[in-house]
Every structure is written in structure tokens, then in C-alpha cells.
Subunit: 492 residues, 2 copies
């Protein structure tokens, strides 16, 4: 079964596409750049969404829903926002079709042209701040802490399943505050929520940092991010949290009276993660046999497969052991599946659940059970253990935690051993070409230098780490004075 | 506070708009016909969605996600579908904007015209059946039982918050089966799920029935529906389940090999409910003071308001009683809120929670507590009861169930007493004009008669009830032979 996937060592990119398609996460669609999220992929997204949603609510946020369609003129209100977002997007120009009088199906009705075109939202700052204008008069109306789960469309020429698609699903938080300090606190608080989610639920170690001006969100004063390293050494931006200053409040004239009855513009943040996280998950953990899903968000955490034979006594015995185990697992809140379908052979099932990334596989064999044992395999290591039946439940519960920790540690060790300090331009170019991973190097702080490094090597500044060591140095490219190293990498 | 809403008796329609806006369910948006679902409205939708999602999963369905944008040509594949859906919809014709060379903001880039226009989905049968084509080869691939939670757009000229909006949120189930019988069974099973949800969770009594040909979904062989009566006697279609026959399989060439290796077209169903249900909820139960929410889906089920004074001992005592009560309610899984904000007065809070429809209000007064009592009010009846402190938890738990039953019975009695048997055309016209409610009348079964009745009275056939009594009669309009009465009404 492992032969159905291209091997990572042969073609990493093809391995990824094979895996996403064959494990049932997603499929291509008839619409260029848009994908179908299949049941297995969507179940994974639901678990990720529900956990994030819980964390948003615990930090005081509420959900709401704003229109999909945004008047074109809204996009040009915030000067830098329009540069970043208004360009590649789906434009609705008409609101009616009609039968072709020549009998060729249906055509656009020219009489149904919109006075002002509508844009399918690429992000919702503009429509939301236009709404907040009506909701905010006084400091008593603040803060507003709202999140939205939604689909967005950004026209992409080169797409990859989950990583870069024309339509994707995401959440976007949009908050409004009375003070700059409070807005910055919100921005960093949500970055922490994202980092906690990535590490504690996706087993994905992340660097927390701030973006350079070139990589900043269009309309933000500061963009905070979490960055992860994939198995090929490339970086993947896994979430961003933006301090928007008063930019959108000014663009949409959102003012409030403070406690001293003084008028001021409202301070804003926005923050989001998307179905891209599924791509990160796959690229960070999976292997040549298929997906390796972190236990906490795996749709099926434990699969139990009996080796059935024709003997009704054996079948009854195996079913009995399975029933006991399943009720114990369910009572512990563990998502499990008993696959006793006798139309498919055990070997086929093993390969199938490996491909789908189920963290723990339990095999019930008649002889093992007679000997009081159960075979338990962990997907991340592909190692098996014989466990006494009476101990199987406790063992499995512990094993799920062990797998999470082990996946996290493996990914963190891989990342940490692939961040290299580089001090000369020659070494930089050689390293980026020849060795997968991140580069930690001094930078003079100018957008021009960053741009030139990008042109020369395709590497960008992924982030300036939040807890960065301050040290004197010389920019790896310009030789100018620098006070800290930043993280460079090629990125998805 | 009750004065802030228009009274139902003065202007039912205005009462509804006032209520939706002022209770914080939704707001108008800058985009014609699209609304903003505010946090209170969205919390309600989340609870409805989560319950429905649970019921879908319990009946074997999985969630997935299909593209928002549909190629125009797909819509004309199924002949009657295009008539019903392809006309009033949002048409994407371009994929890029650019800066206006004359400096007037941004304009559509004429060079970025799509070869084939894309339609923002008004419903997803076409894109989904185009996908199923690749997923189905054999009877082993069937059934496919998939649901999608999504936004859809149908261009509407006259819109009403929740009831009829250009964009709305919904779920759409799309299933594929090997036999006609199995597909019909699925169609009626999902109708039952909807009816159970409406009655057991929304306290909304519904008539289950089948639509006449005129009211059938575009592309369906049969449309089953649940119909509810609003307080003004008008009907509201609360959910539909369609048996699609082999229409979409034929349109998208989806064939499978059955157990005998014979090729056949796949049988289909689709079924959906939308944010329209929130409109139904409001119109069925609420009053001149505000929302009356059914307890099972109320975002806050119990609010506790202390009458605070300056005495720290009193405050401590009230907080202690509240803490005990809250931990008991939370342990029972009841969503409650303790509002001890001392910036607003109790009277203001009472009105606010009445407006928002919180089913149970508990007031903690110092003197009552001294006497060992707590005041408990039920929102649906606006009646108060003094309850011993020790009994308050049990009383409240029981009361939530009582309120549900009482709301359901009230709505059912209202409906049942407003379905009138009518046997002459004169009586039909007089009744529909003068008396709110449904009419049960004989109909000759022809679309022509239904159309003429609609033109004359604006009444349509809401449904042919599933458990309909068969009786000889004469059509109320044409006088022709009829075997059963059907339900006529004016509808939202």
C-alpha cells in the first residue's frame, strides 16, 4: 500500500498532492483553483475549528456573520489595504442570467448590470468597519470582540490543495478598542492563542514573531505571526494577528467619545487562521505511508480491527473484547471506530487506516486474546506492542498523549537542528541553495535589503522572533549595522 | 421598555423588523439585500446548527465542503433546475481590479475577463453532482450521505431580515443511492429529522406534507416540506427535502454498476434548512415585549439579577446564593448568566433580557432571601413565582421543560384553531381576505387551478399533508372531482 504514494525523497511536492488526494482530505474541483474538502478533511477541520472556537470564546469573543459581497468602493478606502487586496479577486458585475435567444443555454443579462460592482470578500476589514461605524458611539460600546467563520476568495494563479486555493475557509477576528495599549494586548493575546493551538493540538512547533514591513498585512501597523518548518525545510506561515492602529477607523470614520467626552478614532485588530493549517499538518508530520495525524484533532483516534474467522465462538469473543474496550474509550471521550466489515481483509484495512493517519490501531487476534493480549500499533512510529487485555484501555489512553508529545518533540528537534546561523552573504546563498531549513542572520532593517535578498535567493524574512536576542552585528547582505538576527527562509 | 417596539396589533410587519433589529439578532448592511447576523442572532444559529448537525451525524451523514463558485454552463445542464435557479443570481465575470488611470479609485480590469462566467452558488446540486461523477463507479461507492453548511446567494428584489435575504446561511444535504426506494426513504427520513427539530427544539409545530408541482424544487420529482403557521396566520416553509429521482445523475452522467454488473443512473436527494428558521422562531413565539426564545436553543437560558445595595454583607449574601445556583445550573448543562453589573439598574436589565428572550429570569432580593425565597419569572407567560431558595435549582430545571411544552402547545393550539375547512369559492375568498390562518379545501390536482387560485387570492398550496384523509369532494375553484383536501395559505 505504501507504494501508492510518491516517496518524499523522490518528489516532496508530488508526495504531498498524492497524499491529500488519496487519503481523502480533498479533491480538485471543476472550478480553477477551488477545491472540494472531502469528509475526512472536513472532519479534521471541524475538530480544529471547534477547539479554536472554544479558545476564542474563553478569551471573551463572540461569533457573528457579515456579508460575502463587498462594494468595490469600500476596498479603496484604506490606502495600503487596496494595494494588497483589491487586485486579484472575484468581481460580481451582474445579478441575472437569461435564456440565450439563439438557444445556446443561458447568458448574462446585460440589463442586470450592477451600478457598483461587488467583490467576493478577500478579507472583511472593510465591510466590518463600515458596520462598526453604526455600532460605536461611546467608550461604553467598546471593546467589540467579534470573530467570523467564513469562506473567502483571493484569485490565485498558482494553487496547491489547502496551501493556496482561490476559495478557502477561515476565521477572521475583528476587534475594536478604546486605547492603543488594549488593541496591542489583544493582538499579542490572539497570537498566543494561535501558538498554543498549533503546539498543544496540532503538535506543530511554531516561532512567534513580528513581520518585517514587506511582509506586513495590507493596512496593518504591525503583523504578528506564527511560523512553522515543514519537512522539506521550507517555512509555512500558520497564523497572523494584526495590530491595525486607527487605519480602518479613519478610513470608515469610526469615532467614539471617551470617558472625558473627547472624540477619538477607534483602535483595531484582526487575526486569522485558515484551512491552510491542514496543509501545514500534513507537511509537518506525515510519512511515505500516509497521514500522521496529531491525536487531539484526529477524526478517528483509535481504530479496532478484529481478525475474524468462521468460528462463531471466536467472533463472539472478539466482539466482546471490542465492546468492552470501545465503551471504555468512549467513556474517556476518545473517538474510536470498530471496523469488523468482513468484505475487506485486515491487511487492506491496516494500509487504509495508516493512509488516513489514525494515531492508534488495535488488532484483536484470536490467539493473542487467548493468551490475554492485544496488539497495539502507534501510527507515528509504526511500532507495535503486545499489551495485556486488562491493561489495554489505560495503555491506549496514555499512548495518545505519548504520541502527541513524541510528534511535537520530533518536529521541534527537526526544526531546531535546521535553523542555521549564517554570517556572510556567500554562506547565505550556499546554505539557502543546498541545505533545507531556516537561516538566522543579521539584517540592516531596510525593505530594500530584504527585497534584494528575496530577488537573489527567493528567501524572505519569515519573522523577527518575539524573544529575540539583541546583539551587535553586520547585515549579511549590505554589511550595515544591525542589532539582531532575523529568520530567513523560502516559504509556502 | 415595551414601548420601543411597534405592537403586533398595530403593524405586524413593523413589529418583526423592530424586534429583529432591537433585540440584537441582525442588522442591515451596506450591501442591498444582505444582512449582518449579530452576536445574539449568531449564538442562536450556532445552537440550532449544532443540534441539527448532531441529528445529521446520528443518521449517518458526514460534512464536506464544495466550491462557492459554479461554472455558468453547469446550471443549464438540468432543464428544470435552470428555470428555477439560474436567473436571479450573482454573476462573477472578472477576476481582477486595477487602479483607475484617471485616479478615481479602482476599476474592473477589462483584461481579466473570465472565459466562462462563474455563479455564486444559489444551491449546490450541480457542482456536487459534477463531483460525484468522479466518486461513484460501483454500488460499493453508494450510498454517499453528505451535508454541507454554507452560504448561498439568490438575488432578491424584496428582502426581509432572515426571511428573505440575498445571501443566507444554510445546510444542504446531498445524497446518492443505488435504488429509488432507498432515495425516497432518505428523503422522508430527513423530513422527519426536520420536523423533530422544529417541534422538539424550536417548539414550533409543523405540518408535514408534499408540495404540489407548482411549488416543487426546480429539478425534483417530489418536494417534501414542513410548514408552520406564524402569529399573523401566514404560512412559513421551514424546511424542504427533495427526492430528485435520476435527474441530476442524468444531467451529469453519473452511472454506477450494480451487484449484477448492470449500469444504471444514481438516485438522488437533497434537503435543506436555513437562517430563515430564525425568522420563523421570532414570528411564531415572540410578543410585544420582545423575543420569546424556546429554552433548548436560547443562548442564555437563565439570567440571574441581584438587587444590590451598599451593604457589603447583603452583597456577599446575594453573591453566595447566586454562586450556589450557578454551579448547580452549570452542572446540569444549563446556559446561565449572572448580571451583577452595577452600572445599570435592575429595571433596565429586566426589559433588556425580556427583549432578548431569555426564558427564565431569577431576581435575588435581600428581603426575599432573608425570607428564604427567590423570585423566578418565566418569559413566555411573564408570570413570577416566589420559590424557596433550597428548591430554586430543581424548580428552574423543571421550568425550562415546562416553558418548552407550553410554548409548543400554545403555538399548536393557535394553528389548529386557525385551519378552516372551506367548501365554496365564495367562502374561500372571504376567508382568505378576512380571517388569518390556513384553509383546508378540495383541489382538482391541476397546476392551472392552483395558479388561478394564487392569482385571485395570493394563496398557494402549502402542502398536501402526509397523513391526509382521503375523501370524495369537489374542487373549491373548478368544481371538478377531488379525493382530498390540501392546505392553502398566504405565505412568507
Amino acid at each position: 500500500m505504501s507504494t501508492i504514494l510518491t516517496k518524499r525523497s523522490d518528489d516532496y511536492s508530488q508526495w504531498y498532492n498524492d497524499l491529500v488526494l488519496k487519503s481523502g482530505l480533498a479533491d480538485y474541483s471543476a472550478v480553477k483553483g477551488c477545491m472540494v474538502i472531502k469528509p475526512h478533511g472536513f472532519a479534521l477541520w471541524e475538530l480544529m475549528r471547534d477547539q479554536l472556537d472554544k479558545m476564542f470564546k474563553e478569551t471573551g469573543h463572540q461569533n457573528a456573520y457579515f456579508p460575502l459581497l463587498i462594494p468595490k468602493s469600500f476596498l479603496s478606502r484604506e490606502a495600503s489595504h487596496v494595494e494588497g487586496f483589491a487586485k486579484e479577486c472575484a468581481v460580481v458585475t451582474h445579478y441575472r442570467l437569461k435564456n440565450d435567444p439563439n438557444g445556446n443555454g443561458i447568458i448574462v443579462d446585460k440589463d442586470a448590470k450592477l451600478e457598483e460592482e461587488l467583490i467576493v470578500r478577500p478579507t472583511s476589514e472593510t465591510i466590518i468597519w463600515n458596520t462598526y461605524k453604526d455600532w460605536i458611539q461611546s467608550y461604553r460600546d467598546l471593546p467589540i470582540l467579534i470573530n467570523q467563520w467564513a469562506n473567502v476568495v483571493r484569485w490565485e494563479m498558482r494553487t496547491r490543495l489547502f496551501l493556496r486555493t482561490t476559495e478557502f475557509l477561515w476565521q477572521e477576528g475583528h476587534t475594536a478598542h478604546a486605547t492603543k495599549e488594549e488593541a496591542i494586548e489583544e493582538t499579542t493575546k490572539m497570537l498566543e492563542v494561535y501558538a498554543t493551538f498549533a503546539e498543544d493540538f496540532m503538535a506543530l512547533p511554531v516561532l512567534k514573531g513580528v513581520k518585517s514591513a514587506n511582509e506586513r498585512f495590507a493596512g496593518a501597523e504591525d503583523t504578528y505571526c506564527i511560523e512553522a518548518m515543514m519537512q522539506d525545510g521550507k517555512a509555512l506561515q500558520a497564523g497572523t494577528s494584526h495590530f491595525l492602529g486607527q487605519n480602518f477607523a479613519k478610513a470608515f470614520e469610526v469615532q467614539f467619545r471617551d470617558k472625558e467626552n473627547k472624540l477619538d478614532y477607534v483602535w483595531a485588530t484582526s487575526w486569522g487562521v485558515s484551512t491552510r493549517l491542514i496543509g501545514a499538518l500534513v507537511m509537518a508530520h506525515s510519512d511515505d505511508n500516509g497521514l500522521v495525524l496529531p491525536p487531539k484533532i484526529a477524526p478517528i483516534q483509535v481504530v479496532i480491527i478484529p481478525i475474524l474467522n468462521k468460528n462463531p465462538e471466536t467472533v463472539a469473543k472478539l466482539n466482546q473484547v471490542a465492546d468492552d474496550l470501545i465503551s471504555g474509550l468512549k467513556a474517556a471521550g476518545i473517538r474510536c471506530k470498530y471496523d469488523n466489515d468482513d468484505n475487506t481483509r485486515p491487511g487492506w484495512k491496516y494500509a487504509e487506516y495508516e493512509l488516513k493517519g489514525v494515531p492508534v490501531r488495535i488488532v484483536l487476534g484470536a490467539r493473542d486474546i487467548e493468551n490475554g493480549n492485544i496488539e497495539i500499533m502507534r501510527r507515528d512510529m509504526l511500532t507495535k506492542e503486545m499489551v495485556p487485555v486488562d491493561n489495554a484501555l489505560e495503555y491506549t489512553k496514555t499512548l495518545l498523549g505519548t504520541i502527541h508529545d513524541s510528534m511535537f518533540n520530533k518536529a521541534r528537534d527537526f526544526r531546531d537542528s535546521n535553523i542555521r546561523k549564517v554570517d556572510t552573504w556567500e554562506e547565505f546563498v550556499k546554505t539557502i541553495e543546498e541545505v533545507p531549513g531556516f537561516i538566522s542572520a543579521h539584517w540592516d532593517g531596510t525593505p530594500e535589503t530584504e527585497e534584494q535578498i528575496k530577488e537573489a535567493t527567493k528567501a524572505t524574512i519569515r519573522c523577527i522572533p518575539l524573544d529575540n536576542v539583541q546583539e551587535e552585528g553586520k547585515c549579511v547582505f549590505s554589511g550595515k549595522h544591525s542589532t539582531q538576527r532575523v529568520i530567513f527562509a523560502r516559504a509556502y
